[in-house]
């Protein structure tokens, strides 16, 4: 099986380049297995991984141009296997990209905004089952950023215009969260909610199969529209790049 990998060391290389490798194939072989086999047995390939089960998000790459998680993506015995770094993020080395422009912001969003601490009594109060049904799947977002890498709006307009689906999932989680007291609708609009074209490219590549991306975007949009906030001018663009 042929596997091609995009390599790049910014300390010595003028630009990225592709190297072809021959790798033994076996049934159900994943991209992560292929990269590991090459690094172990042929020559250094720099990549990241951790959980081997689509939850840590660290093995995100692209295969034949399609963003994916290497640990749960199959290589093709007969066809092309071009492994390249995750699109739309700066490359640090080979398959390592820096996702902090998204993940740092997501970490801030995920912190609950509350005026006072929760108590055991607060937690015991039944929550709205509909909110629970919408919020619970979003907990499984691994923040791998594969969705953001596959988003055509991010690709065309950049993160300066649209913070991307990874960010919107985090905002939605706290929007649904009955314990959060922040204004997450404003936050969603600021993040470029109305730049999203609702194409579903995020859902297509997401391996948290529980997450309903389009249903979540529809809820956020409806909440914004209800408050008269449905204007692209209010996106992060409008504040910094009018």
């Amino acid at each position: 099986m042929k596997v091609s990998i995009q390599k790049y060391d910014p300390s010595v290389d003028e630009r990225p380049y592709v190297v072809d490798y021959e790798v033994d194939w076996h049934e159900n072989m994943t991209v992560l297995e292929a990269i590991t086999a090459i690094n172990d047995g042929q020559e250094p390939v720099v990549f990241d991984f951790s959980c081997r089960g689509r939850d840590c998000g660290r093995c995100a790459v692209s295969l034949n141009g399609k963003p994916c998680l290497a640990c749960v993506t199959l290589v093709s015995e007969e066809g092309e296997n071009l492994v390249a770094p995750l699109p739309n993020f700066p490359v640090v080395r080979d398959l390592i990209v820096d996702k902090t422009k998204v993940t740092d912001r997501v970490a801030v969003t995920m912190r609950r905004q509350r005026a006072k601490a929760l108590t055991a009594e607060d937690l015991a109060v039944p929550v709205d089952p509909e909110l629970y049904a919408k919020m619970d799947p979003l907990e499984h977002c691994s923040r791998c950023c594969v969705c953001t890498a596959n988003c055509p709006v991010v690709a065309e307009k950049g993160l300066k215009k649209f913070a991307g689906p990874t960010q919107l999932i985090a905002i939605a989680l706290r929007h649904y969260d009955p314990y959060d007291q922040g204004d997450r609708v404003i936050e969603a609009v600021q993040a470029g909610l109305f730049e999203c074209i609702q194409c579903g490219a995020c859902d297509e590549v997401c391996k948290a199969l529980e997450i309903d991306h389009l249903g979540t975007w529809a809820d956020l949009r409806a909440a914004a529209e209800e408050r008269g906030l449905a204007s692209p001018d209010l996106s992060v663009t409008g504040l910094y790049f009018p």
């Binding site: 159900n28 172990d40 081997r52 840590c56 749960v72 640090v92 080395r93 912190r111 977002c141 969260d177």
Partner: protein
């Protein structure tokens, strides 16, 4: 600083021919201009010509925490609450490092009652547990402090598990003494760390502690993206790196462990090399998880496995359901693993050293654990595999391990004042239970003790020779030629350690593993050659540095496994098939003696109530 002096300080750049990576490196030997003045008390002298030509960053703090996981976050919180400055060193990307950085659906459980510590089910007390540590740590959080659900909720955890119709909390355990519920997504804690005002140095591996005359004055490490050495000076250092099980075998892209490649026991090994004893190296704790598809073998996040709830449906390679007929009152995590290990030792294991879970019965399928259930759809989606109705081959992977540095009842490491050690497992002897709930209170307790320790403490000035020696040790790896790459040697270490420490441990296998590890140390390690000369995110370099740590820990584990001549914990020794309390109701300590690792018995630390 002028060009001539900067070249002197950075060493002979042209001979090495390397290009400095991205981030600015603060040169440790800046030249001062002007007339020398009388020194103030405590003042040192920077820019001495006799200084080592190393280049490194220097940070200064009260508490340095190594590992930003469950114990590390709790440690950081305790330190912030005590008004201390904190730096957290994390090998992975912040929020994504170690198992806490998996977005995994953890089980939150805690005792509701202030039971006497001996009666508590907050941890698994067994005959080898360090009772002083468990008592102190348990009593550190009393009453409502023990309510992990409230603690976690205030760190941003979600709604936990709710009844889908009524929205009520739906715990798995709801008894007067114990409460337990799923949906503990630990990444929320890591997000909360950012609100605490701690400094996080991520993508930074700790390579050695700063040992100045037996006092730990901080940590040295390497920023992986830039290859820059980082030195953190701290009054107290808390090692919160969790269980190191990455030496336990290898499938195709992971060890025979659910754990993260981040944890190679770097600071446990550092303490070991500084003369500290490691305890319980032979005790690995195991779960049954899938062998195939190999890409997700032994993955708690993506895999499917079985625990003792499924024991009726577990069969050997010949289809014998060897749990049936067992007295289930004796079934716990230890006896569960021992029974399987015994079956494998007696020839019932598959080629991979596994057994089968038979999901052809609907009951068995329904008994699949909470975390694994989620992966049934994943397997269909990615691999086209539907486990329902099939026999799934599973093996015993190691999710947890002792092998921690020996510490006193304040979690301070014996032999290194100022180094504290906190994790979920460890100090627990032949522990047979999950340690997720113990990690946060050990982290918090360790810092409480550290704060007491550092009261009135003056650290000595940073010893440049210590830093220079570590700089040389790390960079000397670039000079080697003619040997194997670190990844190839890593696999040798992992296979040899698994051979010695697998759940079914025939003496011949233990001895073969020991011999192979000794051979690796003598023949392979000295010539280990990097395939990558860059300073930018050099994973060959990282792998090589980690190999020394894994090898130390693997040897300590294999030698301890040989030394303990009985069956105890998650393993079975065919030549010593019984628990032997007469001779072995004790811990085993491994220690470096004149360059060799030796094992000795050590009494169990007990407490009179």
């Amino acid at each position: 600083m002028d060009r001539e002096n900067s070249a002197k300080a950075l060493g002979d750049v042209s001979r090495r021919g390397f290009v400095l990576g991205g981030a600015a490196a603060t040169v440790g030997a800046a030249m001062l201009a002007g007339t020398p003045q009388a020194k103030a008390e405590g003042q040192g002298e920077a820019g001495s010509d006799a200084g080592h030509p190393a280049s490194y960053e220097v940070y200064n703090t009260d508490v340095c925490i190594i590992g930003g996981g469950l114990a590390g976050v709790a440690a950081a919180m305790e330190a912030v609450d005590a008004g201390k400055d904190v730096i957290v060193i994390e090998k992975g990307p912040h929020g994504f490092g170690g198992p806490a950085g998996y977005n995994w659906n953890q089980f939150i459980n805690f005792v509701r009652d202030d039971l006497p510590w001996r009666e508590s089910t907050d941890f698994v007390l067994n005959e080898l547990t360090n009772q002083a540590i468990e008592k102190n740590s348990y009593e550190h959080w009393m009453g409502e402090d023990r309510n992990l659900m409230v603690r976690d909720a205030n760190m941003g955890y979600g709604l936990l598990v709710r009844n889908p119709e009524t929205g009520e909390l739906a715990p798995l355990l709801d008894f007067p003494t114990i409460y337990g519920i799923y949906r503990g997504f630990s990444r929320h804690q890591l997000d909360a760390l950012g609100d605490l005002g701690v400094k996080i140095l991520d993508r930074t591996m700790a390579t050695d502690i700063i040992d100045q005359d037996g006092v730990c004055c901080g940590v040295m490490g390497l920023h992986i993206p830039t290859g820059t050495m980082r030195v953190v000076r701290a009054k107290a250092t808390i090692c919160c790196t969790g269980a190191s099980t990455w030496m336990y075998g290898w499938n195709t892209c992971g060890a025979r462990s659910i754990n993260s490649p981040d944890n190679t026991g770097d600071i446990d090994a550092a303490a070991f090399r500084h003369g500290c004893a490691l305890e319980g190296n032979e005790f690995f704790q195991c779960d049954l998880l899938n062998i195939e598809p190999t890409g997700i073998a032994c993955s708690f996040q993506g895999g499917i496995g079985a625990d003792s709830g499924c024991c009726e449906y577990i069969c050997d390679k010949d289809g014998n359901y060897f749990f049936r007929g067992m007295d289930y009152s004796t079934l716990n995590k230890i006896t569960f693993t021992q029974t399987i290990a015994k079956c494998i030792a007696e020839g019932g294991g598959t080629e991979n050293g596994g057994v089968y879970v038979d999901f052809s019965s609907h009951e068995a399928f329904e008994a699949i654990g909470e975390t694994y259930k989620r992966n049934i759809e994943l397997w269909k989606d990615v691999f086209g595999i539907d486990v329902e109705g099939t026999k799934l081959e599973v093996c015993l992977e190691a999710y947890e391990r002792a092998g921690n540095p020996v510490a006193d009842e304040h979690l301070m490491v014996d032999g290194l004042a100022g180094l504290f050690h906190a994790r979920g497992g460890g100090f627990s002897g032949a522990q047979g239970g999950s340690s997720v709930n113990v990690a946060p209170r050990n982290g918090s307790f360790a810092v409480k003790c550290a704060v007491d320790y550092m009261d009135g403490l003056d650290l000595p000035a940073l010893d440049e020779a210590v830093v220079g020696a570590e700089y040389d040790r790390l960079h000397e790896l670039f000079e080697r030629t003619g040997g194997k790459r670190p990844q190839e040697i890593r696999r040798m270490i992992q296979h040899a350690c698994y051979q010695a420490c697998q759940p079914a441990r025939p003496t011949a296998d233990i001895e073969a593993g020991i011999a192979e590890l000794a051979r690796i140390r003598a023949e392979e390690m000295p010539t280990m050659t990097l395939g990558d000369m860059s300073r930018v995110f050099n994973t060959d370099w990282k792998c090589a540095i980690e190999n020394y740590n894994l090898l130390d820990l693997a040897e300590a584990a294999a030698l301890s496994a040989a030394f303990r001549e009985e069956t105890r914990g998650h393993m079975f020794r065919p030549e010593f098939p019984e628990v032997d309390d007469t001779n072995w109701l004790c811990n085993v300590h491994a220690r470096y003696n004149d360059g060799h690792i030796t094992c000795e018995k050590a009494p169990v630390v007990t407490v009179e109530d």
